[in-house]
């Protein structure tokens, strides 16, 4: 083992998106030595792509807002399956986290009186998203990146991938990584690990995610024996680009609808009026006239008295509505819906508030969104479930392991509201950093790593170079997996399809075990893809098994045979864990909502 580069830290943070950066800043502020490891260059993580804004009840744009309303919106958006304590902490702490970013140099768009301007978004009762045009994520990641590199005690390892977590008995002791440029291994010794690796979108063909999103954190935690929960809840964002093929899946921000954009089918109907769920009927406009009045009020900068347009329903509802319109023959030419902002706002407003969208459609799809409608359809965007954590400290069920951001589960329940992911990163990134620091400080002894465990893991990672002749191409296996998941574990799920998926996963696993790569270890994407395959297969199986277990429809999870929500499933999480080499699924009770918060959810604010 001495032949490997080796480093020792109090806290190792895996991932340098918003959650990882925020965790690193906090752990360093607590006096810990911190290693921050990221798969790509610093500042390129998925947070950079977040567009619409960060949700926080600052009440600068509408003074009626408060943490209680934010809490209620989050719980109702999550179909009450959220961990209520996480939702409470999140709503209460988000404003301070956003203001803190400003103290670190972030510049959000302003209200006329010079405060942070907030924008409307799906499922949020009041304008709540602090934003910078449609590039909020870039502003956040650059601010956090700058704060991190000026935080003493943080070492950054760019283009470095964690391949295994290492344990000393039951507790975390380190991790094995490889450097992308040289392909060489690094052994990290550490008291605590914070997973901040994001999501699993690359398990699906049509997705809005980058190559990095291969479920690494979920799979690492699972392999280390930690519980995963809520993995059946995969968010299909209603508005991805659908044409040309080259851009299929790329995100179109919900901000388009927040700024007044409307959805129409091929007959020119605003079909969302037909899809308002019972639970939300009293909060949404039931005529175009009222919906239009709401837009006028918002544009004029007044507090909206009209009810909101149904285009601003939660993402699960809108995605399913578009899918149904397409299924019933009312889709756009390339199998989506029309999203029209051109007829609603002036060209100069569109270019000011949605500059990236304007550029994206202009350059990649030859569409001028100030003149014509966009064609949009559902795209795999986010996973609500993830590593099961303690709501206060973000500790996983394995000692020394923490998780924050998309890789963690609980906050979003069955469906996430737009804007709540960026606030999630900040609130729980900080808490995970604090939790890990406290754990590291209380740690007794030294983390011990078994040489044999490292050698075995290293040999497994190098196996694709050792195999000879007639092997599988890693890209082909990944593509087959993506096709399979889209076909059998997509928006509308059937028992038979899910069982077929499990059988197909067995075969894909066998193919993955025969993967052969060419070339050497130096910056070899073929080899890197082969390594990522293992994680993709693990999370795909977790999603499929959890989807089979939840025999109801709720939020983002839709079972064709069980079209309604079932009370019995309203009080349980589906938990996935490893038992030997087998993946097991159990139901775990959700902590009941205290009466005081129940009253908030039911309407008292």
């Amino acid at each position: 083992m001495d032949r490997y580069e080796s480093h020792t830290y109090d806290v190792l943070v895996v991932g340098a998106g918003g959650a990882g950066l925020r965790a690193a800043i906090e752990a360093a502020a607590e006096g810990c030595s911190v290693g921050l490891v990221c798969k790509s260059l610093l500042g390129k993580a998925h947070t950079v792509m977040a567009e619409g804004g960060v949700a926080a009840a600052l009440a600068t744009t509408d003074s009626r807002d408060s943490w209680k309303v934010h809490f209620r919106d989050t719980m109702r958006g999550g179909k009450l399956l959220n961990d209520w304590r996480m939702a409470q902490i999140h709503a209460q702490e988000a404003p301070a986290r956003v203001n803190e970013l400003e103290a670190w140099g972030a510049l959000f768009d302003r209200t006329p009186d010079g405060r942070i301007l907030q924008r409307n978004f799906g499922g949020h009762q009041y304008p709540r998203l602090a934003h910078v045009g449609d590039r909020t994520g870039l502003e956040m990641i650059r601010t956090l990146q700058d704060k991190t590199v000026h935080s003493p005690g943080v070492d950054v390892y760019m283009e470095c991938t964690i391949a295994r977590l290492l344990k000393d008995g039951e507790r975390i002791a380190g991790a094995l990584a490889y450097r992308r440029d040289s392909g060489r291994f690094i052994v990290f010794r550490t008291k605590a690990v914070v997973l901040a690796t994001g999501g699993i979108g690359r398990a699906y063909k049509v997705n809005s995610n980058s190559w990095e999103y291969t479920g690494d954190g979920q799979a690492l935690a699972y392999e280390a024996g930690a519980d995963l929960m809520g993995m059946e809840f995969v968010q299909f964002h209603p508005t991805g680009m659908v044409w040309p093929l080259s851009v299929r899946g790329i995100l179109v921000t919900e901000g388009v609808r927040g700024e007044g954009g409307v959805l129409k089918n091929s007959k020119g109907e605003r079909f969302m009026f037909r899809y308002v769920p019972e639970m939300f009927k009293k909060d949404f406009a039931d005529t175009e006239a009222e919906a239009n009045r709401w837009v006028e009020e918002v544009i004029a900068g007044r507090k909206a008295e009209a009810r909101r347009p149904p285009e601003l329903l939660t993402r699960d509802v809108v995605a399913r509505a578009i899918a149904q319109e397409v299924r019933e023959g009312r889709g756009s030419p390339h199998g989506g819906a029309f999203l029209d902002i051109a007829s609603r706002r002036r060209p100069e407003d569109i270019r000011k508030k949605l500059p990236s969208m304007y550029q994206q459609f202009h350059e990649l799809a030859d569409v001028d969104i100030t003149r014509d409608a966009m064609e949009v359809g559902p795209t795999t965007h986010y996973v609500m479930g993830g590593v099961r954590v303690d709501p206060e400290s973000q500790a996983a069920t394995v000692p020394g392991l923490f998780a924050a951001g998309e890789v963690g589960g609980g906050l979003h329940g069955a469906n996430r509201l737009g804007g709540n992911s960026l606030s999630d990163l900040l609130v729980f990134g900080r808490r995970a950093g604090m939790g890990a620091a406290a754990y590291a400080k209380a740690f007794r002894g030294e983390p011990r790593i078994e040489t044999a465990e490292v050698e075995a893991a290293a040999a497994e990672l190098l196996a694709p170079f050792e195999r000879t002749g007639g092997g599988e191409n890693p890209y082909a296996v990944q593509e087959a997996l993506q096709d399979m998941m889209g076909t059998y574990v997509g928006i509308a799920r059937k028992e038979d399809d899910l069982r077929t998926a499990l059988a197909e996963l067995e075969q894909l696993r066998a193919r993955a075990a025969r993967v052969v790569v060419e070339g050497n270890r130096q910056y070899n994407p073929g080899w890197n893809t082969a390594i990522d395959l293992k994680n993709l297969l693990t999370v795909s199986e977790a999603v499929t098994r959890a989807a089979l277990e939840r025999r109801e429809s709720r939020g983002a999870h839709m079972r064709v045979e069980y079209p309604d929500s079932d009370k019995r499933f309203g009080t349980v999480d589906v938990i996935v864990r490893r038992q030997g080499e087998r993946m097991t699924v159990v139901q775990g009770p959700i902590a009941p909502l205290p009466d005081e918060l129940r009253r908030v959810v039911e309407g008292e604010a």
Binding site: V48, I250, L251, S356, L364, P525
Partner: protein
């Protein structure tokens, strides 16, 4: 009809361009074609990418000699009967194929004196007018693709990474210097460490910026003026002599 990609394969010691035929489809971008080559012809072809939507600035390369983001470069703009050449950024050492060692940029960034805000209002937050932050928001659009660094002759041809921070970090400094809340001065840093005097305003950086930031006009020239005012203005020099105040930090 297939397109012909002519891609640099190799590392910093040796390398050559190799040809790969790629089937084309409507709306295809150069990054799609590179991915097709990876999946079908050369699984170890190295390139960086993340968002594939012009947001992250990872897939910078030189396409037919021009620094570009591969994800925002449409194939149908090139003549179909000629090969499309893809080379790594020239200003940085090649690691492998289309991937270059850009770590120097991160070192430069670390040395820039960080944001230092003035005290907040009584409620702990600040008031700023949109009009006052518009010009700084322009600089903050930068996605760190480093294409401006790549094309800058001070870095590309004269290799003065020892003396010049490059356009990207002059933009970064401008975003701090013109930030309505910032109270630090980076004049001496600009003059002595960032080497702003090396820029002779050829505007090549502005031309290649995928975010259309007016790097030269809005960032570099005002910073140059700031340095001139602080260090070379004879009236101010006399004033400093009279008041006994030294040059700025």
């Amino acid at each position: 009809m297939d397109a012909l990609l002519r891609i640099f394969r190799g590392d910093r010691e040796a390398g050559a361009f190799r040809d790969y035929p790629v089937p084309q489809h409507e709306g295809m971008v150069v990054l799609d074609a590179v991915h097709w080559v990876q999946a079908h012809l050369a699984s170890d072809l190295a390139c960086r990418w993340n968002c594939k939507a012009g947001r992250c600035g990872s897939c910078s390369a030189e396409v037919n000699g021009r620094p570009r983001l591969m994800c925002m470069t449409r194939m149908d703009q090139f003549p179909p009967d000629q090969p499309i050449t893809i080379a790594p950024m020239k200003a940085f050492p090649v690691i492998k194929d289309l991937v270059t060692d850009v770590s120097w940029n991160y070192e430069v960034n670390k040395r820039i004196p960080p944001f230092q805000p003035k005290p907040p209002e009584a409620d702990g937050t600040w008031r700023m007018q949109q009009a006052d932050i518009d010009r700084v928001q322009e600089f903050r659009k930068c996605i760190e693709c480093f294409l401006c660094q790549d094309v800058c002759h001070v870095l590309r041809d004269h290799e003065r990474t020892d003396a010049f921070a490059g356009p990207r970090f002059l933009v970064r400094i401008a975003s701090l210097e013109m930030h309505p809340l910032d109270v630090a001065s980076r004049s001496r840093y600009l003059k002595d460490q960032a080497g702003i005097g090396y820029c002779n305003i050829t505007k090549c950086c502005t031309e290649v910026c995928p975010e259309s930031i007016h790097i030269t006009d809005n960032a570099i020239i005002p910073l140059k003026e700031r340095v001139v005012d602080d260090f070379y203005d004879p009236v101010r020099r006399v004033w400093r002599w009279i008041t006994g105040r030294g040059a700025p930090a």
